[in-house]
Amino acid sequence: MSGSGEFTFDAVAVPFVPGDHLLTALLRAGLHPTGGGTLCVEGHSPHCVAEVDGVAYVHTCQTLAREGMLVRAQAIGDAPMLPSTDPLAQPVAVRNAHHDVVVIGGGEAGRGAAASIGAPIVDAGDGGEVVGIFPGPMVAVRADAGMVHTHVERVVVATGVLPLLPVCPGNDLAGLYTPKLAERLQAAGVDLGRTVTITEPPQRFEGADRVQAVVVGDERFECDAVIVDIGTTPNDILARMGAGLAVDAVGGASEITAPPPCPTEGTVCPCNETTMAELAECWDRGFTSMELLKRASLAGTGVCQGAVCSPYLQSFIADRTGSLEARFTARPVARQATLSELAAGRHHPAIARTTLHAVHEAAGATMDRFGGWWRPWVYSDVDAECAAVRSAVSIGDVGTLGKFIVSGPDAEAALQRLVPTDVSTIGPGRSRYVLMLDERGYVLDDGMIMREGEGERFFVTVTSGGASVAEMWVRDWTADLDVRWMNVTMSVGAINVTGPRASELLARVGFDQPLAMLRHVEADIADVPCRVVRLSFTGEVSFELHHPCARSAELWRSLLDAGADLGVVPHGLDALSRLRLEKGHIIVGQDSDYDSTPRRLGHDWMVDLDSGDFIGRHAIERTGRLPLDKQLVGLEGDGPPPFEGAVVWSMDGTYAGYVTSAAWSVTLGRSVMLAWVRTVDGMLPDEVRVEGMVARRAELPFYDPEGVRARG
C-alpha cells in the first residue's frame, strides 16, 4: 500500500493519503480529471481518464496514487498527442497461472460461485484489470506488477452490474458521482458539500462547470454534488467476449434486464460526445440497426467500448422498433493495456543456427537470415570464394537442409506418392534429385532421395527452411501407409566439399574410395562418421558430408587444415548462389513462383508420368496439354548484371517477365540470369531487354553444359 505523498496533475501538486486512488486525491483537492461528467469506480466512465506517467487513457479511479506520479489532464474529445520520443523499454513481467476454473469478479455472485466450486477469484477491482477472455480459455489480467495470464478449462464471469450513468442536459458537469464512488469518497474523508441522491433519471443538471442543481420530475434541488442512483445494467462485456468459449456468466452479469427509459436529450456516448439528437439524426438517415448506429454515430467506439452507452442505444432502438436488439459484439479488450504490456514475454521467431555458427562468425562472415536459419552470406570476398570453388576447393555449410529418415514396408510407396519419379529405380547407394508437387502440380520443394542399404530405408533432403512444412505435408499424405518418418534436420550436420581438388582434399582426411555421381557411401572422414554423397550444385566435383551435428566444427577444421596448401576457403551463400546460377540450378522460393509447374520451370524432365499416381499428376497431365504461357529461362548479356527482380521487356517494349537470379559470371565473362519470360504466340523470345541491356536466351546450364567438371 502506498504511503502519503504528492503527485502532480498538470502543474498542480496534489497531496494523497495512503490508499488513495488518483481520482480520490484529485477530487479531495477540488479537481476533476476531465473537467466534468459522472464518475464511477468501475473503470468504465471515461470521465476519469488521464495521462499517467506517459500513458494516456488511464482510469484514475483504478490507479493507486504514488509519490511523484506525473498526471496530465486529458479533456474528453481532445485526443492526446502521440509520444514525441521513445518511452524507455521497461520490461514487463508475465506470470502464467493454471486452474481448472476461475471466477472473474469479487462481488457477491463471484464469491458465491467461487465458494461453491472451489475456484479462485480474479477480481477486476483489486489492482488487476481483466484485459479479456481469449481462446484457451485464457484470462489476461493487467496489473502494476505485470501481466497475469491464467490458463483454465472454464471461466465463470461474475462481474455483476454497472451503475447507469445519467443521460440528460448537464451530464457533463462536475460533481456527479455513482453511489459506490460517493461511498468511497466519503470513506476517504472527501467533503462533497451538499449532496442530493437521485433515484430516477433527472430532467437536467444545472450549473456552469460544477453542478449547482438537479431537476428530477418537477422538482429542483440545489446542491454541490449529486449521487446518481438511477439503476444498473449487466456488466456483461466479458461474458459476451467469451461467447463460443467455455465461459459461463452468473449473477447480475448474466441477467437480461429491460433497458432504461430512452432519454431525449444530452450526451449519450461520453467517449465520443455523441448526443441523443445525433443518434436520432443517424436513425432518421437510415442507420437503423445497432451496428450501423454505432458505426455512424461513433457511440460505443470509445475508450469504454459501449459500457456506458449501450443500454441507452438499446432503449433508443427499442423505442423505435419495439424490440430489444442485442448489444454490439464484444471484442477484446475489456480493459486496456499498453503495447509493451501486451508484448510482455514475447520473442521474435527464433532463427536456428547450425553448429558451425560460431565458426562462421569467428571467420568474419556476414550472417543473414534465410529460410529460418542464420547463414553466412559472405566471408570476405565473394569473387575469391567463387574462384576457390571453380579452380581449387572450398567448403560450405549446408547443415540447414531439411533432412528426413524414411523407413518401413511402405517407404518406397510413400515416396512414390510424394514425388513424380520412379523411386523403385533408385537403387541402394544411389540418389536422385526430385521435385515435390502440390495437388495443382505446382512445385512445393525440391530435394534429394537416397536409398540406404538394400532395405526399405531412405534419406531425404529438402530445401533449407522447407523442413517443417515438408514434414506436415509428407505425414498428411502418407498417414495411411506403413512408413516411419524421422525429421533429423536439426541433428544432422552437412558440409559441402566442392571444387576440382575436392577429391584430393578428401583423400587427405581419409576418404579415397572412388564415388560416382549420385552415389553415396558411409565412411569416416577425419574420424567423423559421415554419409558421403556425390552430387553437384556448384557445377564442380562435390561431396556432401552428412554427420552428427555435434562434430561439425571438428570436421570443418580438419578440412580447412588438411587443404590449406590446396587453397581451401569457405564459401558463403552469395557465392553458392552465383555458382549454382552458372549451372542453371533453381532455388525453390527464389526462382519458382506460386504457380510453377515443372514444365514452367523447365524441369519437366524430372516428371515421370509412368511412375504411378503421385500428387499433382492429374494437374500435370491436364495442363501439359495446354500451350505454355511463361517459362523460367536462362538469359545472358554482356553488360553488368541487373538486380534480381528487374523487369524483362520484349524487344518491342511489352512486358515479358522478371529476373529471379542474376550475377556476373567471372568464369564466363558475362552476366547470367534466370528469368520468367512470357510466351508470345506460343514462342519464347530469343532476345529481350533487361535494365537497358539486350539479353539473349541461353541454353542451361551456362557453365560446363556437358557436365564434365562435376563428373571430375
Binding site: Y57, D86, A89, H149, E278, S289, L298, L342, R346, H348
Partner: protein
C-alpha cells in the same frame, strides 16, 4: 468535437421484390460498388443487393483500409492503380467524404531475401505507373523518423521502398457512400436477408431463395466474402479458394501526426494512423484456413511485440479493440472476377487481403461485364477459367501483409 458527416448520408432499405435484372449477394464494398456502377454507368437499376447481416459488416468493415497499387505483376499493378485513382475521385463523384488521405507507404526489408522481394516489386510498379522509390536506411529515417532503424538490434532495416500514392480511407464511409449512390438511382438494398439457395433452371441460375421468399434474377452475382465457396457450391461452381482469418487491432485516438503507412514484410507487420487518430495495426493471415472470427491473445501479443520493435514510440499506447476478418485466398494470390461457366452466375472473390483497395475498380469492372456481357480488359486476366486454361497470375506482390 464530433465530426458526424455520416449524418449527411441517407440510406433507405427495401424488402425484396419478386424479380430483378441483377441480384447481388453480399452488401459489402464489392457488391455495393457493382450495384453503384451498374446504376450510374449502365443505367441498370433493377438491382437488388442482399446481405445476411448489415451492410459493410463483413470484410469491408474489418479490413485495415490501406489503398495501394504496388503489386507484383503488370495486370495487378494496372488494376490496383486504376482503383487507387478512382478512389481519389470517388469523394467528389459521390459528394461524400470518405476521409481519403494520401499519406504514402513505406515498406521495409531487413534481409537479403526481403530486399530481393521489395526490389522486384518496386521494379514492376515503376514500370506500370505505380511510382515507387528505393530508399537507403538514412532515407527511411527521413521519411519516418519514428522508425528504429536497428529494430531493437535484431532486424536492422536494409532498405525501404516508398510508394508515395499509398492512402487510407474510412471503410464504412466507402460502403455507405456507394450504397447511398446506388439507392439514389433506385437500387434496392435488403440487409439481414440471407441467401439460402439458388434457383436453377435449364442449367442456369435464375434467382435466389431467401427466408423472405424467392427472388428472380436475370443475373446473380456472388460478392460474398468468407463464405464465397459455400455460395458458389449452391451454383455447382467449385472455387479454388481457401478462407483464412486475418486479425487486426487499433489503439485509442491520438492527434493525427503519424505518416506514412509503415510495413515490414520480414516482420509481418504494418501500421497506419487512421483519420480518427487511432494507430491501426495488422499482420499476416493465419496459416490455418478457418471461418473463425475469434480474436486470439497470440496475435495481440506478437503483433504488439513486432510493432514496438519497429516503432518504439508506440510502447505506451493502449489498445482499444481487436477484431478479425476472413480472407479468401486463391492459389495464385490474385482475385477472381467474372463468369463461372454457369449461366446467370458471376463471382467477384479471391480478394484475400487486397479487397478494400479494389472496391472502385472491382465494382466498375463487374458492372461493365454484367451490362455488356464482355469482361473489360482490366479484369479479363482475372477470370475463373484461368485455372482451367493454366493462365494463372502468380502475384508475389500480394504475399505481403495487406
Amino acid at each position: 468535437m464530433n465530426e458526424h458527416p455520416e449524418a449527411e448520408i441517407t440510406l433507405r432499405w427495401n424488402e425484396p421484390e419478386a424479380s430483378y435484372d441483377v441480384v447481388i449477394v453480399g452488401g459489402g464494398g464489392h457488391g455495393l460498388s457493382t450495384a453503384y456502377h451498374l446504376a450510374t454507368r449502365h443505367d441498370i437499376t433493377r438491382v437488388l443487393v442482399l446481405d445476411a447481416g448489415y451492410i459493410g459488416g463483413g470484410n469491408s468493415g474489418r479490413n485495415t483500409t490501406v489503398i495501394r497499387a504496388n503489386y507484383g505483376i503488370p495486370e495487378a499493378v494496372r488494376f490496383y492503380q486504376h482503383s487507387l485513382e478512382r478512389y481519389r475521385r470517388l469523394e467528389e463523384e459521390t459528394g461524400r467524404s470518405m476521409m481519403h488521405d494520401r499519406k504514402g507507404l513505406l515498406w521495409m526489408a531487413h534481409s537479403e531475401a526481403g530486399v530481393r522481394r521489395e526490389r522486384a516489386r518496386a521494379a514492376v510498379n515503376q514500370a506500370f505507373g505505380a511510382e515507387t522509390v528505393y530508399l537507403e536506411p538514412d532515407e527511411i529515417a527521413t521519411t519516418c523518423p519514428e522508425i528504429d532503424l536497428a529494430c531493437g538490434g535484431g532486424f536492422p532495416a536494409v532498405m525501404g521502398a516508398s510508394f508515395h500514392q499509398g492512402a487510407t480511407a474510412r471503410h464504412d464511409r466507402v460502403v455507405w457512400a456507394l450504397a447511398e449512390g446506388a439507392m439514389r438511382c433506385g437500387v434496392h438494398v435488403a440487409p439481414h436477408t440471407a441467401v439460402t439457395g439458388l434457383i436453377h433452371e435449364h442449367g442456369r441460375i435464375v434467382g435466389v431463395e431467401t427466408p423472405a421468399g424467392r427472388v428472380a434474377a436475370g443475373t446473380v452475382v456472388s460478392a460474398v466474402g468468407g463464405n464465397a465457396t459455400l455460395l458458389a457450391d449452391m451454383a455447382g461452381v467449385r472455387l479454388p479458394i481457401k478462407t483464412h482469418p486475418l486479425q487486426a487491432f487499433v489503439t485509442n485516438r491520438y492527434q493525427r501526426r503519424f505518416d506514412p503507412i509503415v510495413a515490414s514484410g520480414d516482420l509481418g507487420f504494418y501500421v497506419s494512423q487512421t483519420a480518427r487518430g487511432q494507430m491501426l495495426l495488422g499482420a499476416e493471415i493465419d496459416r490455418q484456413p478457418s471461418y473463425s472470427r475469434g480474436s486470439t491473445y497470440e496475435l495481440l501479443a506478437s503483433l504488439s511485440h513486432r510493432a514496438i520493435t519497429v516503432l518504439p514510440f508506440m510502447r505506451n499506447l493502449r489498445v482499444l479493440r481487436q477484431w478479425t476478418g476472413s480472407c479468401d485466398m486463391s492459389p495464385d494470390y490474385s482475385p477472381i472476377m467474372g463468369d463461372t461457366g454457369v449461366d446467370g452466375f458471376l463471382v467477384t472473390t479471391g480478394w484475400g487481403t487486397w479487397g478494400f483497395k479494389a472496391i472502385p475498380a472491382g465494382g466498375e469492372c463487374m458492372a461493365e461485364h454484367i451490362a455488356t456481357g464482355v469482361a473489360p480488359e482490366l479484369m479479363a486476366p482475372f477470370s475463373l477459367d484461368r485455372f482451367e486454361r493454366d493462365r494463372t497470375l502468380a502475384d508475389r506482390g500480394s504475399s505481403g501483409t495487406h
